[in-house]
């Protein structure tokens, strides 16, 4: 199971209320995935500074953390705090920053690094997680969300989706991969480090590695058709695109609704039924092994 949603808003008015469109989509996917929930949002303009999204559960002295961060990296570093989640905007390199957080407290998880993407995720159903972090009030150009029903690995923050590798790239799936252990081993032999034993992480690192080697995302996906063994619908986002694919058997669902104002993707139509103008939307189901890509 699991549920996926994606939303790409075109007019400014809709971008300002992105969260209002996405939250009902996520809530509707509760039955497909009540274990954990996540949302990746993309800001309309890239920030010059890196956006470090971190999760630190419990009560902590965030002011002290920011002070330490400023003295280590960037006196102008800023923090945006929401419950257990923070975005630290700073001119700093990801490697040293990851090492810094690991030193301060191994319980701090770096959820994403980029110039446009923020990722929120936590254990719990969509209503709990969306409420905790205030998804409804968020804005941006596009977003992808996931509701997880764990099948092949544990329910934990680390296993919650979306998964991201590199910068400004994330992936949410429905379905599963059966050869992810061999994918993981072949990537580890190339020096790529894994954080979890989750099949989505294997797919995400597979695509990201091929892109670093010079592939476009489309070329990496075509390689994936040959090498990812499983049944899946994959929804991916970069700072400038939303990309959707299904495997050759296409038994994992997806439905797309397009209007002049938005592109919306979900596992089931009922997640889209509330959207404005849905009655006049072009509604279709993606074909097997065809790459659908929408520019922001």
């Amino acid at each position: 199971m699991c549920g996926i949603v994606g939303f790409l808003a075109k007019p400014q008015s809709l971008r300002a209320r992105l969260g209002e469109a996405v939250v009902p989509m996520l809530l509707c996917m509760t039955e497909r995935g009540p274990d954990s929930t996540g949302l990746a949002l993309f800001t309309q303009a890239k920030t010059a500074a890196h956006r470090f999204n971190i999760h630190w559960a419990g009560t902590h002295d965030w002011d002290a953390l920011l002070a330490q961060f400023r003295s280590a990296f960037d006196p102008a570093a800023r923090i945006e705090l929401r419950a257990d989640h923070a975005i630290i905007l700073a001119a700093a390199e990801p490697g040293p920053v990851r090492a810094f957080f690991a030193r301060v407290d191994p319980a701090i998880r770096v959820l994403s690094v980029g110039h446009a993407m923020d990722i929120y995720k936590d254990i719990g159903p969509p209503a709990t997680v969306a409420g905790k972090y205030g998804f409804k009030g968020m804005s941006g150009s596009h977003a992808v969300g996931h509701t997880r029903m764990a099948t092949e690995s544990a329910v934990s923050l680390g296993h919650a989706h979306p998964f991201t590798t590199g910068t400004d790239f994330c992936l949410v799936p429905i379905g599963s991969l059966s050869n992810y252990h061999s994918l993981l081993r072949s990537l580890e032999r190339r020096g790529i480090l894994f954080v979890t034993d989750n099949d989505t992480e294997a797919a995400c690192r597979f695509f990201e590695w091929h892109m670093r080697e010079g592939d476009t995302l489309e070329q990496a996906i075509v390689r994936g058709f040959g090498e990812l063994d499983g049944f899946y619908t994959l929804l991916m986002a970069t700072d400038d695109r939303l990309v959707l694919v299904r495997d050759a058997f296409a038994c994992k669902p997806a439905v797309v609704a397009e209007t002049d104002d938005y592109v919306a993707v979900a596992s089931e139509f009922r997640s889209l039924a509330h959207l404005p103008g849905i009655g006049d939307a072009e509604i279709f189901e993606p074909q097997p092994e065809r790459i659908y890509s929408w520019a922001v």
Partner: protein, 244 residues
Amino acid sequence: MGRVTPASGSVAAPSAPAVTLDFPALGVRKINAYLHAEATRADHPRVAIANPGGAHNLAVGLNAPIDVEIMGHAGYYAAGMNKLASVTVHGNVERGVAENMMSGTVRVKGNASEAAGASMRGGLLVIEGNASGRCAISLKGGDVVVGGDVGHLSAFMAQAGRLVVCGSAGPGLGDSLYEAVLYVRGELHGLGADAREEPLTADDVASLTALLAKAGFGHSPREFKKVASGRTLYHWNSDAHQEY
């Protein structure tokens, strides 16, 4: 499923006053309970389900000659296990529409997702738009008529009944087919194992003429290609070493 605009949601002039049930107000259990009980006791039972919003399991397990109109898009298993009733969906449906139908009629004005008419044993399923993969999978009787295209692996292991496709059929049509018969008006994008084209007989033309008329399509039966089982997979052949 192809890229098409959804059905407009218009309704034909009613033959009898309809009771309208509002999905958001009632939910699926109350609506189905009404269709199973109160609706069957009316003189001219006609029920409309308003604002379905893609909900699953609408109008399943009906067991009386009632008319049901779903006034928008429906989710999974719409009109599943239908017996005697006539169900019209004024929109699209998701997977498993009319699965295991025994008798009656289910008509979808828009498109259908995966496994439309799966394991049907009788009755008529009409999809006016396109149907996605695995349409009429494991068909055991009855008729499925699709106005547009069907996706991959349609009529997989279909045992009896007919699948009529007025558009084209995706890859692997009729894989491991038993005695169901398939008619395709458009392109065949590859037949599955043991499915083969056969010439139309006079009996095919006569029965297809009647079925197309019943389903409301005006195509000439002679425009269709017939696909049926090659019957080489019927029995286990130990000499074949699993090479077929």
